[in-house]
């Protein structure tokens, strides 16, 4: 038997290495976070980072081994990294080739609720004025089915879409009929406050596998204060509705979204408890968007981003604690970001996409036939800003709509990889472009990042999530599960 060599023999004698593209930023006082092109991160002490940058890091240093394994460098021992990085990067952008998957149909602007934060609703009985016509719907179906995406999701929004349920039925039946030759995977969602739900509607939903998405802002008093309707019984209607949907369609066929208002900020645990009580297995702790009445009524500026971050962190800590007690419960905003941090898959969350998801991830067909680049775009239009209007159903062709300068310009100009400051930011792989948000607040697609609340909020969230993972192995395991949820 010949002799075995020690591990020393296999280390390259040359101490030189080449840096691969990466970015870094302080994590806290002592540590830096480094990210590679594919979004893998590594936390390192400052002095190690400096040694690494100056080509002085020894190849037996534990940090060196981590850097090589995560594709921050190549050396004489291994140079396979660029090929692996390329595969991960391709996977990350794979979704782009699919093009628009989510098609939002605003079937009416009418609503029987009068939520002060609402961005779009109308208290009008004038059906003709605020309902989508079947001609518009028909044209929009053709546009939706023209999308190259094999998976088409049609989401009904409002107003309260159930006020125009007849049109929903028409769209579902027509879309299925026209899809027969194309054979795409069609899915339907109704975003509703559930106040008008009934057996007949649900039987139709069951026949066509329609999902229900509703709003639940928290405990009864908070929910009803946020979401006034005649009778003041929005909460009761929602809870009854959730039960009815589950009985008729199945437990997992209804999801809920919460909207954060100033009144929510001190009550994150109660809000989460409400979701636990209603037997949801997760919650999306959402920041309030700056559109519609939310800006007009100043409720967007009524609390600053730091207060929201405190709310978010407290909520996330509480949820992590629940999981430690053996209760499986997910925070979906974290899960979305963690998917970007810990996998090569893009979660397809429009706010955190770059290139932005407007138009190419989701598109909106408004009740009046105008096509908008995103849900937020039509809210801006309601406020008089038509910057993201792409065209009109029945008047413009698919090609005209999806090559409109109102879509292509913001997509190109806001691409974070080439935007000043984003380009250098270690968190760019996790972040999004969100040209609509920035245009709403700053009147250009990019904004000034040091002043951007979007940037501030997301950077703080990214740092918080990374610190939680680095400092606690159990959190790391939990987050890995969420990332792959």
């Amino acid at each position: 038997m010949s002799e075995f060599r020690t591990i020393e023999f296999y280390k390259s004698r040359k101490s030189s290495y080449r840096l691969l593209p990466f970015r870094f930023t302080p994590l806290d006082q002592d540590r830096y976070v480094l990210t590679n092109m594919a979004g893998e991160y590594l936390v390192s002490a400052r002095d190690k980072l400096l040694d690494f940058l100056q080509h002085k890091l020894a190849n037996e240093d534990p940090t060196y081994i981590e850097l090589r394994s995560r594709h921050f460098l190549i050396d004489d021992n291994s140079s396979i990294a660029p090929e692996l990085l390329a595969i991960k990067l391709r996977t990350r952008y794979d979704r782009l080739a699919e093009f628009t998957g989510l098609h939002i149909f605003v079937v009416t602007l009418r609503c029987e609720h009068s939520c002060p934060y609402c961005q779009v609703s109308r208290q009008s009985e004038d059906k003709l004025r605020y309902d989508m016509s079947s001609e518009i719907a028909s044209g929009a179906i053709d546009l939706a089915l023209r999308s190259p995406s094999q998976n088409i999701k049609i989401e009904f929004q409002g107003g309260e879409p159930l006020l125009n349920f007849e049109l929903i039925k028409f769209i579902v039946l027509e879309a299925k009929k026209r899809n027969q030759k194309r054979d795409k995977n069609l899915a339907f969602v109704i975003a509703t406050n559930l106040a008008l739900i009934n057996e007949d509607i649900l039987i139709f939903c069951r026949q066509h596998s329609i999902l229900i998405s509703t709003s639940l802002d928290g405990p009864k008093d908070l929910h009803n204060a946020n979401r006034p309707r005649p009778g003041g019984d929005s909460y009761e209607k929602t809870i009854e509705g959730i039960k009815l949907v589950r009985q008729t369609l199945g437990r997992d066929r209804v999801s809920a979204l919460m909207t954060t208002t100033e009144a929510s900020l001190d009550r994150v645990q109660e809000i989460i408890d409400e979701y636990l009580t209603q037997d949801f297995n997760g919650i999306f702790l959402r920041p309030l968007s700056p559109y519609g009445f939310a800006i007009k009524t100043k409720s967007y500026r009524a609390y600053n981003t730091e207060r929201w971050l405190d709310f978010y962190k407290e909520g996330l800590e509480y949820i992590i604690g629940l999981n430690r007690q053996g209760i499986d419960f997910i925070e979906y905003y974290a899960a979305t970001i963690l998917k970007k941090m810990l996998t090569s898959e893009d979660p397809g969350y429009v706010d955190l996409m770059s290139p932005s998801g407007i138009g190419i991830g989701a598109v909106v067909y408004n009740y009046d036939g105008y096509v908008y680049a995103s849900d937020e775009s039509r809210m801006l239009a309601e406020m008089g800003e038509e910057k993201f209007r792409l065209g009109k159903v029945l008047e413009n062709s698919y090609e005209q709509i999806f090559t409109s300068p109102n879509l292509l310009d913001p997509l190109e100009e806001s691409f974070a990889y080439s935007v000043p400051m984003c380009n250098d930011c270690a968190f760019e792989p996790y972040c999004g472009a969100d040209p609509v948000f920035h245009y709403a607040l700053y009147k250009d697609y990019v904004g000034r990042k040091p002043e951007s609340e979007f940037c501030f909020r997301n950077m703080a969230t990214f740092r918080f999530l990374i610190k939680k993972m680095e400092d606690d192995k159990l959190v790391r395991q939990l987050f890995t599960k969420w990332a792959n949820n």
Binding site: F4, E66, S78, E83
Partner: protein, 383 residues
Amino acid sequence: MLKLHGNLPVLNSTTKDAYLITVTTNTNLPPVLKKNRALLMQPNQDPKGYKAVLTKEKGSTDFDADSDVFQISDDYNYLNEGDIVRLDPSSGSMRSLYRKNSPHNTILLTEQCDHYCLMCSQPPKDVDDSWLLQEVFELISLMPTDTKGLGFSGGEPTLYGDRLIDLLHHTKRSLPTTAIDILSNGRAFKDMEFAKNYATVEHPDMLIGIPIYSDDPVRHDYVVQSRGAFDETIKGILNLKKVSQKVEIRIVIHKQTVDRLVRTCEFIARNLLFVDHVALMGLEITGFTRPNLDLLWIDPYEYKDILSEAVAVLNSYGMNASVYNHQLCTINPDVLGNYRKSISDWKTEFLDECLSCTKRTDCGGLFSSSKQFRHSRYIKAFK
């Protein structure tokens, strides 16, 4: 542990050359079939007309002059109808090559290898043994078509290059529904042409098991004792997946790999998510492991939390992961969903302690080599 080969007294011989032959217990075969069967002879049976006879009796029986007659001991009681053996009348050796009733038929294609792994269970020999491959072509032709699964191992089977591909084509033609497992270090597939050639077999159920011992290239190269192995193996896996072949990653857990086991699984999940299976395997105390035992041994009970963490990573990413070669009393319950009884039947053993264990039938047991040389100090019967 079963005795698969040995030297036997030859009571009669007619030929000089070794040959492969199917064992039978059937004394009613027509003469044409008797001429190419080996009779596993029971007392008072008539051995006339068989090409070979395996008997426990010492020569009192009346054999045909043109039969090769071997005297076998109780070691070979496992032999049965349909098994295939290699008989060499000139040296008196017999080797069991295929056991019809075993799910673990693995065929050694060569003892040559371009790796020299610290824990190799089949230490490589640098001699020309290409006659083995010739024999395997014949062996495959003899096997019954209802054979469920078959393994090809080495040494390094891909050292045969395109002749291995020929064997795989031959196997698919002879045994179209038999699942094939191949063990390889994967390096040969760094050549895309070879990977494409492998894919031309178009086998519906063929898996190639390739080891990655660490996410640290230096450590992997050290474990396999070959510089540059890591990059070539990764490249090989990528090429195999480019041509849509089924790939399994195999990690043997020992003192040189356990410290980075979790990181290695994270590396696999991030970079090789598309592989079909990941096997986390306990150490077999045989071959090179014995001289290297101090370098390699760590009690599985001491790494059970690391194993749990590694399995959790693979499970979280939705990978198909299995834990092989471990005993139920040395693992945490959270890996039970991934636990497999994996040790080949012919080398599975239990300790005296295990006799009273209530979970013995669910347990994979120990390698016979572990029982003999080193096993966990924490083997304890469940009551």
